[in-house]
Structure formats: structure tokens, C-alpha cells
């Protein structure tokens, strides 16, 4: 099994906690290292100097306050996209539809941002933010309901809904919600709906980080979280325990979509300022990498998202300084995903023992019959 996180938290003395942390973090760290290594080989093949490239990447993401601000800005929707995948995963669902839920969230947040007049910031911004989040929740719960009532596998339905969402948002930003002018996009959001920045540090990042903590608490400290995890690990036993599996499945998907939708909202309200087609392509897939890199732990999502955010933030610097196409980060990301999920390889390199069996299983057929 690729990515069961320890279902039980580390307890005990500081030393035991440290050992537990190492067990959990060693595979992701090693995966990053291996991916960077192979990325370097690819860079050499394509005629670039990997050391220059990585150095430029670092400069572009951490060298000064503005770079750090940019990194955090990129990390913000990534945290939420990663949380969306990680959360669904705990409930035994693989939400590949983060992209679609994010688009729906983003356009609804934009509509609320430009459409509602005369509200003060303290009301307008939260309404737009939550409105987008709820739209994402609603959109994801379609796939949840299909899974719960017909058994249709969420992996395919959510991907199909991604394409549907592209069409819907394309239609809206080109039709009813189109800005004046020839460009297909919505009008800019009002000042009262915008999420402000504090110097170069985006406030949205802290909202996202707080949400990660809330999600952690929800999963591991609440009765609902217990139900969600039970369904994720063994739906049959959950049914025996009297948990209404269909309800939990839809709810899990809805919360996952809420997180993705919120990612879209924050991006719209805090960074872009409006909706335009082509918005943040690939964020849904980034979420998968982040969730698995975090070993599906909500708090692990924060550093994982900062790492990928830094790669994105520094990629233009890298392209400028080292003349490396910024898409190399997509390749490195794919490699990270490969190594983190192929943890047997990493374990073998590090000679660490397995964490025992069990864990969420996704490959359950397409849910027919």
C-alpha cells in the first residue's frame, strides 16, 4: 500500500516522538531528494547546468521578503488543494476533481466579489470566500452522491466533472458574467471583497494554514472524524458499527470540495482579483502530489505545499537565470509523486521497516455490479 499514514498518533516521550516523526518524514524527504537527482539528470540531458538551475530556483523563492511572499502566495491554494485530496483520502475517496471544484469555487467567489454592492469588507470578503467554498462543496458532492448511491468510482466521475467545470466556467465568463471588452473574463472584484496582504505576506496563507489545523482537529479529535476514518479504512466494519456509510461518503466529498473551492476563492480574492478561463490549470494534480507527500496528514500538507509553492515561485527566476524551461518543475513533481508512492523503493534505500499493513485502498473496481 502506497500511502497509509499511521492511523494512530505518536505519543510518549520526546525521543519516541522524534523517532516517530523520522519514520513518517523519512520517505517524503528521500522522495524529494531522489526526484531532484533525476531532475538534475534530465537537466543535464537537455543541456542545462542543474546546480545553476536549482540555485536560481532557490533565489526566486526564498532569497528576500518579496520572494518569500510569492512562495507563500503560491503555497496558499496548494495547501487547500492538498488538504482536499488528503481529507478525501482519509475517507477512502480519491478526489482527482480538485481542479473542477476549484474552478467553480473561484468563479462563484468572483461573482460574489463583483456582484454584491455596498457591503463592508468584514461582511463582503467572508461571504465571497465562503460562497466559493460552498459552491465547491456542492460540486464535489455530486461525485459523492454518485459514489454513495450508484457506486460510480469517484476517480472517473470527478475527472469528467473537471471537464464539465471548464465548460461551465468558460460559458459564464464568456456569457452572463462577462466583463465589458473583448477578453473573456469576469469584472474585477470590489475592494471590499479582496483578501489583503500584509506587506508582501499574503493573509490568505494564514487562512489556509488555520484551515489545515481545523481539518486535523476534525479528523483526529472529533466523533465525525472517527466515523470518516473508519469508513475510509474499512467500510464494511463501518456499516457493522452502525455508521451510515453513504452519508459519510457524501459528506467527506463535500468537505473535500469545500476545501478545493476555498482554494479557488482565496486565489480569486487574494491574488488574481477576478476570474478568467485557464485559471490555475494543474492545481488539482498538484494537490495529489502534496497530499501524498504529506502522507495524507493535514498538518504535513503545509510544508509540502510550501515546497511546491517555492518551486512554482522560483521557476520564472530559474527560466530567466539558467535558461531552463519552467516545466521542469512539473517533471520533478511527477517524480516526487512516483517516489513517495513507491515507498518500497525508498524504504529499501533507507533500510527502514514497513509500518504494517492496512490503510486505505482505492482500487476497488469501477463500482459496478
Amino acid at each position: 500500500m502506497a500511502m497509509q499514514a499511521t492511523e494512530q498518533e505518536v505519543r510518549g516521550t520526546f525521543g519516541e516522538r522524534l523517532a516517530g516523526f523520522w519514520r513518517a518524514a523519512s520517505v517524503p524527504l528521500m522522495a524529494i531528494l531522489l526526484a531532484a537527482l533525476i531532475g538534475a539528470i534530465i537537466l543535464i540531458i537537455s543541456g542545462a547546468n542543474p546546480i545553476d538551475a536549482y540555485a536560481a530556483l532557490f533565489r526566486g523563492s526564498f532569497s528576500n521578503a518579496r520572494a518569500i511572499g510569492r512562495t507563500l502566495e503560491k503555497a496558499t491554494p496548494l495547501i487547500l488543494a492538498g488538504l482536499a485530496v488528503a481529507f478525501a483520502f482519509k475517507g477512502g475517496l480519491f478526489n482527482i476533481g480538485g481542479q473542477g471544484q476549484l474552478l467553480i469555487g473561484a468563479i462563484v467567489a468572483a461573482a460574489l466579489g463583483f456582484g454584491l454592492n455596498g457591503l463592508p469588507f468584514i461582511i463582503h470578503m467572508p461571504i465571497a470566500l465562503l460562497g466559493g467554498a460552498l459552491a465547491g462543496a456542492f460540486y464535489a458532492s455530486i461525485a459523492g452522491a454518485l459514489k454513495a448511491f450508484t457506486g460510480a468510482h469517484e476517480v472517473i466521475t470527478t475527472i469528467m466533472l473537471n471537464f464539465v467545470a471548464i465548460n461551465i466556467t468558460d460559458f459564464l465568463s464568456n456569457g452572463p458574467w462577462k466583463d465589458t471588452g473583448i477578453v473573456a473574463r469576469t469584472p474585477a472584484i470590489l475592494e471590499t471583497a479582496a483578501i489583503p496582504k500584509w506587506d508582501s505576506i499574503p493573509l490568505g496563507f494564514f487562512i489556509a494554514a488555520a484551515v489545515a489545523i481545523i481539518i486535523w482537529y476534525l479528523l483526529f479529535r472529533t466523533t465525525l472524524g472517527f466515523e470518516i476514518r473508519t469508513v475510509g479504512l474499512n467500510p464494511n466494519a463501518a456499516k457493522y458499527a452502525g455508521i451510515r456509510v453513504a452519508r459519510i461518503t457524501i459528506l467527506t466529498m463535500a468537505i473535500s470540495g469545500l476545501l478545493a473551492g476555498m482554494g479557488g476563492s482565496i486565489e480569486t480574492l487574494g491574488v488574481v482579483g477576478r476570474f478568467q478561463p485557464g485559471f490555475n490549470i494543474g492545481l488539482g494534480f498538484d494537490g495529489i502530489t502534496i497530499a501524498l507527500l504529506a502522507r495524507t496528514h493535514p498538518l504535513g500538507v503545509i510544508p509540502a505545499a510550501i515546497l511546491l509553492g517555492a518551486m512554482q515561485a522560483g521557476s520564472s527566476q530559474m527560466q530567466f537565470d539558467a535558461k531552463v524551461s519552467f516545466e521542469i518543475i512539473d517533471v520533478i513533481q511527477a517524480l516526487i509523486l512516483f517516489f513517495v508512492s513507491a515507498e518500497m523503493i525508498v524504504r529499501w534505500i533507507l533500510r527502514i521497516r514497513g509500518e504494517g499493513d492496512g490503510g486505505v485502498r482505492l482500487s476497488s473496481g469501477w463500482g459496478q455490479g
Binding site: E7, F226, Y240
Partner: protein
């Protein structure tokens, strides 16, 4: 009859098999003579299956030698074993359910014409011939999943014979059969030995050993503890050899004092997953302070009946009442809240969350109640204390309650489930196959716990395919066949023979 003048066809010398942390076989010797039935006896976990998997090339022994017809052989895979004339009928049939009998028989040994095309016509003909020769009566064109288990077992035998096997290993072949079907199997076995086939018959049922074996070998904790002849053994002596001490084959229990009816089932009809009717109008009641045993061969509707009574499967007709409440349309949660405890048939699939620590598994049936939950937030401390108490009380062997349930042995897993189910007030206990596949110590413990609950006034519905378990625990017995109840008997009137006939659908 002396065995010395017969040829030894299969001999295992000093076989040992080590798994990480476990010695499954230790220096085992075994000899099978031509045309004889050798019964290999041992309780669950004694190492019988490991030994047979070694003889079939599925495992490789850590130490020891295998000799077949006087030749020292290395069995690297089942292919090698087959080549040496060994055929195996596994306890869990190795048949592809959606394929036909003939397809299953030829799989892996197909006869092809050109370009890999299978000669199906010849395959069908050969299967017919084999079936005829040994009196097996199997239709080569039938699809496996439509056949009753007894016939499927014969397909397994044909599979081995098709590969020219003259040494057959039958792994717990009677586990899924009625006593009458088992007798038919014994006749087939004798017919086979008459035609020169030698058979190793693995079982833990003493009566069968005495009925059919020519030789008996007993395995205990991975070691061969002795061999004997049926004429020199009794059930008691075999049991002692098998377990290593005097075992009480009977559960100590006093007379029941039944009270009011706790569970009343009226004309229940239930469908299975394939939407075919498998429970067809069943009515009975279980009273406080009694054990009602449901006997029957597996697959006669017991599973679906239990699932219906625990709220997991809807009734299509009829109703049932638990402690005065019509629970027909209740959810599993509502039924649990009527103080119903449930030991599910498949402990790993339904009873436990394997990746959860033991402590979380101890609250699966009450995680939403105080003190484990405030309604919103869980109380880890209360959960841990609860788990520690249960592990102590029910003797669940584990280093801590924070390790995953998957690390427990089968018996300890089952004790954990029993502990959890009994840690709430109980009025009705529904126990399905409560001791399947676990060690004798755990079986005795769980039997005692069930009787203890009965004596406290709990109504117990016990569903089991083990006739001995039904007979030693029940106060009354109903026999299910083909989705119907064939008869209800007080324990005093129940004999093995009578139950066996009823289980086979005959009114006796």
C-alpha cells in the same frame, strides 16, 4: 493389513519451515503408502497447511527432503509437484467461478491445436470420461458458480486426475459438506484408492479420521507427535494427541432457564447480493437465558438472515421484533441501541478495522456515547482506559493497546471482538461462526463467555457450521436448509444423524 509390504509413494524427511518469528513445521517426517488414505490430524495452526503447501511446491522448506516414489525431488513450484503426480484439493477451492467445469479443469494444462487455439471439444470429452470412470457425475459444460459446493469439490478432484495425479492431498475437504455429502466423498476416496490413488486427508474432525483413514498422523505446534491406526485409537486418545492435554469436548453448562422472548422472527424473507431469494419465510424466537443454535451447511441463507437481523440487509417480507420493538426497518445503529451484540462471521472484514489501534477497535460499537464522545469531540483518555480494561478482562494477548489490530492472532482478534460486544449491556447476542479458524484455547474461552451471558439472561442466537459447536452450546436447535427451517429440536432430541439428515434437506 500391514503397510510395510506396500510401496512408499511419498515421503517427507525432517521437514522444517520457518517464517519470520514463527516455526510452522519442525523436523516433520511423513510417509504415504500406495493406495492408502493417510489422515493428517491437527488443530488450527498446527502446521498442517504449511506442510501440505510444501508438498505442493507453494512453499519451500527451510530444511528437509521430499522423496516421491523413491526419488529425491526439489519442488520449486506447483508445476513441479504436478509433474510428480501430486494433486491438491485446497480448502478454499481454486476454481474460477465464471468459467465452465471443463475450462477450469484444463486451465494450465490446455491442449491446443494451431496458434494457441484450445481444443475445447476434446477437453469436454476428457472431463466426461474422468467423471464417468470415478463415478463423479459432473457436467463439463456447467459454470462453476452455479454448482453446489459438493460438486465443485469433485471438479477439483477431476482437475487433479486430469493432470494424472496419483497422490491426492485433500485439505479439510469436509468443512463445507453435510455429513451425508461427506460420506459420499469418503466413498469417492475409497473408489480412488482402489484404482491406485494415494490420498492425504487433512482434517481436525476426529470422527472422520476414524471412519475413513488407513493411517493416522498427528501434528501439534508444527511437530509430528505421533502416528497410529484407526483400530488402535479412540476419539479421546486422538484429541489428547492433537491438543497435548486432556480436552473437555463438552462445554460445562447448567440447565437453561428461559424467560420472555427477546427476538421474534416472523416469516422473514431475504434476498442475497444477486437478488435471489435465499431466506424464504423463516420464523422462530429466542428467549432470554437460552441459546438457540442455527445449524446448517453454509450458504443456506444463514448469513443473509444474520445480516437482516442486524439491520444490514432489508427484509422483503415478514418482520422481526427485538425486546418488544418492531425492528424490521431499523438501521444497524438503532438495533445496536436495543442492546444487541453482534459477533460477525468475518472478523477481519466486518468485525475490526485492521489499521486502527486496538483501543479504537474497542469502541466501534459505542464511540458516539459518553464517556468516549461528548457528541462532537472524542475523549482519548476514556477510550484508552476502556481498552486497557477489556484487554485485561478478556485476556487479549498484546504488548499494548496502541498497536494495530492487524498484529493480533486470529484467536486474540476474536476475543477482542467478543470483549467489545460484551462491554455494553446486552439483551440479545447474535453470534455467527464465533470460533471459526481459531485455536482451542480461544474456542474454550469464547464458549464459556457465551454460556456466561446466557446464564445472565441474555438471549443468544448462535449460527455455526460446526455441528459440535451447535450441539455443545445450544439449548434448542433449528436447522436451516435452502432458506427454510427444516425443524426445531430441543437439545435432548438432537443427534448428529438427525441433524445431518435435516441439514441435507431430508426430513429423516
Amino acid at each position: 493389513m500391514s503397510n510395510t509390504d506396500k510401496q512408499v509413494v511419498l515421503e517427507a524427511k525432517g521437514i522444517s519451515k520457518h517464517f519470520p518469528g514463527v516455526i510452522a513445521n519442525n523436523n516433520v517426517d511423513l510417509a504415504l503408502h500406495k493406495g492408502e488414505i493417510l489422515a493428517l490430524l491437527g488443530e488450527n495452526g498446527a502446521g498442517k497447511s504449511t506442510l501440505m503447501n510444501i508438498l505442493y511446491g507453494l512453499y519451500h522448506p527451510t530444511e528437509g527432503e521430499i522423496w516421491i516414489k523413491g526419488q529425491h525431488v526439489q519442488l520449486q513450484s506447483p508445476r513441479d509437484a504436478i509433474a510428480h503426480g501430486i494433486g491438491m484439493v485446497h480448502q478454499h477451492f481454486q476454481l474460477v467461478p465464471v468459467m465452465t467445469v471443463a475450462e477450469n479443469v484444463i486451465l494450465g494444462a490446455e491442449v491446443t491445436t494451431f496458434a494457441g487455439r484450445i481444443d475445447m471439444r476434446q477437453a469436454v470429452r476428457e472431463v466426461s470420461e474422468l467423471s464417468h470412470k470415478y463415478g463423479l457425475a459432473v457436467d463439463p459444460n456447467a459454470v462453476i458458480e452455479d454448482l453446489p459446493v459438493g460438486i465443485q469439490q469433485r471438479v477439483e478432484i477431476i482437475k487433479a486426475l486430469y493432470r494424472k495425479a496419483d497422490i491426492l492431498i485433500l485439505d479439510e475437504p469436509t468443512a463445507v459438506l453435510t455429513p451425508q455429502e461427506a460420506n459420499e466423498l469418503f466413498q469417492i476416496m475409497r473408489e480412488l484408492t482402489k484404482q491406485g490413488v494415494s490420498i492425504i486427508f487433512i482434517t481436525h474432525k476426529l470422527k472422520e479420521v476414524l471412519a475413513v483413514a488407513d493411517q493416522i498422523a498427528v501434528l501439534r505446534r508444527g511437530e509430528m507427535v505421533g502416528s497410529t491406526l484407526p483400530s488402535e485409537a479412540t476419539e479421546a486418545s486422538l484429541a489428547e494427541m492433537m491438543v497435548g492435554r486432556n480436552v473437555i469436548l463438552q462445554v460445562d453448562k447448567s440447565e437453561a432457564h428461559p424467560g420472555a422472548a427477546i427476538l421474534q422472527v416472523e416469516d422473514a424473507h431475504v434476498l442475497d447480493d444477486r437478488k435471489t431469494s435465499v431466506v424464504k419465510g423463516v420464523s422462530f424466537e429466542v428467549r432470554a437465558g437460552e441459546v438457540l443454535g442455527v445449524a446448517g451447511v453454509q450458504g443456506n441463507g444463514q448469513r443473509e438472515l444474520v445480516e437482516a437481523l442486524t439491520g444490514l440487509r432489508p427484509l422483503t417480507q415478514g418482520r422481526f421484533i427485538i425486546d418488544g420493538h418492531d425492528a424490521t426497518r431499523y438501521t444497524p445503529r438503532q438495533i445496536t441501541d436495543l442492546d444487541v451484540a453482534h459477533i460477525p462471521e468475518d472478523r477481519e472484514k466486518h468485525g475490526l478495522v485492521m489499521a486502527y489501534p486496538i483501543e479504537d477497535n474497542t469502541i466501534l460499537n459505542q464511540y458516539y456515547e459518553t464517556p468516549y464522545s461528548s457528541g462532537v469531540i472524542v475523549n482519548r483518555k476514556a477510550i484508552e482506559n476502556h481498552a486497557l480494561k477489556l484487554v485485561e478482562e478478556f485476556d487479549v494477548r498484546t504488548p499494548s493497546v496502541t498497536v494495530a489490530a492487524s498484529t493480533l492472532s486470529g484467536g486474540n482478534k476474536q476475543k477482542l471482538i467478543v470483549a467489545r460486544e460484551f462491554s455494553k449491556p446486552v439483551k440479545l447476542l447474535i453470534a455467527a461462526q464465533p470460533t471459526r479458524g481459531i485455536d482451542v484455547g480461544s474456542i474454550e474461552f469464547i464458549h464459556q463467555q457465551i454460556i456466561k451471558q446466557r446464564d445472565r439472561g441474555v438471549a443468544v442466537l448462535l449460527v455455526s457450521a460446526e455441528l459440535d459447536e451447535i450441539m455443545s452450546l445450544s439449548d434448542r436447535i433449528v436447522v436451516m436448509f435452502g432458506g427454510r427451517i427444516m425443524a426445531t429440536l430441543p437439545i435432548a432430541e438432537a443427534t448428529r444423524e438427525k441433524l445431518g439428515l435435516l441439514m441435507a434437506g431430508s426430513h429423516g
